[in-house]
Symmetry: none
Subunit: 416 residues, 2 copies
């Protein structure tokens, strides 16, 4: 079963409003095991709607239409669909009464253009709207179905599960496959390296497909399993995940909705370890990410954004001579910062960053993008140097990710 | 001139990823006065791409395609388009060399699947990608044009203005209306208050329309001017902007691409003032936002994320008795934090936040969402109390915005 999605509205084709209905509907359809033939947006024009609907009906078994059911003059979806199919419009008395009651209850002024929302094409089945005045409807066209909904995201979210899914299931029952999905989050490898590694695994399981999604600075590998057999659906997903795991384990830091900071926070809490951070080039972003995790005060003692040299010396006890001889951006300074913050804060772990995010401040020896990240637990101290080829914000983001990744590696006992 | 937009990727038709490229491209086209025939998303399937392209070419003069130009096996856009048009692929030596150089420069491991990104259909004109490895291309089909771009939003944003707009202008130059736009950014009023204020202004100028876009925690008012007459196009926009300005000036903090942190940083630099920040509940987000501004080291001396009570006492000289008597989340503690960080850092201004972001930690007297923000310049000290009704991340975001807004008001000499 293939579903087409047609969203209607000048606000969409002008780029003023981001269409979120299509993604929502696609996810709902996928959950039922139905594929999406295409998603299309057209403006409030009779001919665009007619042509778009015609194309979508050609490539799909069911077309879900949203938008253009309001009372104003630019809302022409119902009339355009009726005209495209050569159907007359009728006024539904029950719906009309309900709209009038709604107006009275809310003390809104009645205007006659609201009658429009009670008009439907002949033969249409009305879909109730529990949260708004615009009802939806569906029409059967031979073996196919066209279902029409208002464009307000909150309304379609309420109407789809009860108003459409049962109809589609009843009409297209039997043929569906289930879909399930697993997201594996990797860091520290390029997309093409991951792709090649997965390709070499040569995973050839029925209904399994694998996609690669760069989410800077992470890469997400999504395994999708599609199967009629509910047991094979899960089993094949697990086998595929296990095989990718075996091959890329070192670079996998989280799964599904978990974030890097969730994972690191989890280890810190489990091990009852405390952390303090001295940030220069990351400017507070490491602290910001860690404090997004509820309960972060259990392990996060303090962070210092030591942006100036005097602040590094005064707050972190970085020796003046280290900065003078080795420079602010150096391994020695990074380590002194991590040691300083750890001692002053009396925490188990100290973490630090120092670097040049640009656009100014680079030299031939230390170009923009040079970053040192250091970690110490009092006994062990480690520092890594990076040269990143990105802009200011991205250098902050990837440095933060590396700092959290180094912390993660430390916490699971791996080389940093 | 009508433009069609075709976005390609299983991540779009599965609903996993929200397509933002279509809106961006639509806005760019509208700015030039061109209409959008339709926007369509299809999956990574040869036949879906071929059919979709065929339909879009039928209803448009130019089709902009994005997505599926990466090195991995599911990236099949180039090959599918070539096949649909019956064209062979060739390898562009210059592009191939550049991709290889990119890999060397970034010390990335070369894998042969990357050669794919140097392949183009015969007759294609290559569109340079200054920020990624996937070049775009365009093909002429009789009187029509097909332009193909990678799907990464940051890349297409860089490539479109220089790589595509000049070609389209040259090919379809002529009679259309121009569009221009102004974004006014407001903070501290609700959407309905702003809507009502603007409605009362009763701005009735030819070709002017006004839209409201909530961008938490900001509200953006966008004035759009559409006119054939290039003089009236600008003139009417300026009149509308002036009138909104007169009415809502106090809550307008920035325009167009400027951010709150840009504005605050600009004032600090102009006045040669220095700043230090003591953050508790905002967890580093104020420092993060300010250090996104290039050259922020000119005014930003240091930030302290004092998450624990001992750190507030040790680092900020907050008297133990203040915390014991008034509590960590109190006006007195907020002011002591701002005074402490200012003195210790020897800066002109000290700024602080303390609050309860939840989900745990609330009490009937101080519920989750209670936040104090304080600012001092040594003589003046000010503190505001807020009770926000949002989740953890949003409480951090709106508290950060209020801290920057209080700083902005101080810098322009207004009541905080």
């Amino acid at each position: 079963m293939k579903v087409g999605i047609l969203t209607i509205g000048n606000e969409l084709t002008s780029g003023m409003t981001q269409d979120t209905n299509s993604s929502f509907i696609a996810r709902e359809m996928k959950t039922e095991g139905w594929g999406i033939a295409a998603m299309m947006s057209v403006g409030d024009s009779e001919s665009s709607i007619a042509k778009g609907l015609d194309y979508m009906l050609e490539i799909s078994d069911a077309v879900v239409v949203t938008g253009g059911l309001g009372p104003t003059s630019d809302d022409i979806t119902t009339a355009s669909i009726a005209k495209a199919f050569g159907l007359n419009l009728y006024t539904d008395k029950v719906v009309l009464e309900r709209i009038k009651e709604r107006f009275e209850k809310r003390h809104l002024k009645w205007t006659d253009n609201n009658i429009k929302q009670a008009k439907f094409p002949e033969g249409a089945e009305i879909i109730e709207n529990p949260v708004g005045s615009a009802c939806g409807f569906f029409l059967e066209r031979g073996e196919k179905i066209v279902a029409v909904f208002p464009g307000v995201p909150g309304e379609i979210k309420r109407m789809l599960p009860e108003g459409l899914l049962p109809v589609l299931k009843w009409k297209f029952k039997g043929s569906e496959k289930g879909t399930t999905r697993k997201t594996i989050k990797l860091f520290g490898l390029t997309e093409s390296t991951i792709d090649e590694a997965v390709a070499q695994l040569d995973i050839d399981l029925p209904g399994i497909s694998i996609g690669f999604y760069p989410r800077f600075p992470e890469i997400h590998v999504v395994i999708t399993s599609v199967n009629k057999d509910r047991y094979a659906l899960k089993e094949n997903l697990e086998i595929a995940e296990m095989r990718i795991n075996e091959r890329l384990e070192k670079n996998i830091f989280a799964r599904d909705h978990e974030t890097m900071e969730d994972v690191v926070a989890g280890y810190l809490k489990d091990k009852k370890l405390t952390l303090s951070i001295a940030e220069s080039c990351t400017g507070g972003l490491i602290a910001d990410r860690l404090t997004n995790v509820p309960g972060s005060s259990d392990f996060f003692e303090r962070g210092i954004v030591a942006y100036s040299n005097p602040s590094k010396i005064a707050l972190l006890d970085v020796p003046h001579s280290t900065i003078a001889q080795k420079g602010t951006v150096s391994e020695e300074t990074a380590i002194a910062m991590a040691e300083g913050i750890r001692k002053i804060s009396e925490t188990d772990i100290g973490l630090s960053t120092t670097g040049i995010t640009g656009p100014a401040g680079g030299t031939p020896q230390k170009p923009v993008g040079t970053v040192y990240i250091a970690l110490t637990d009092g006994q062990m101290k480690a520092c890594r140097k990076f040269i990143f080829g990105w802009n200011r914000r991205r250098i902050k983001e990837i440095s933060t990710q590396w700092a959290l990744e180094m912390l993660r590696r430390y916490l699971i006992g791996r080389d940093i």
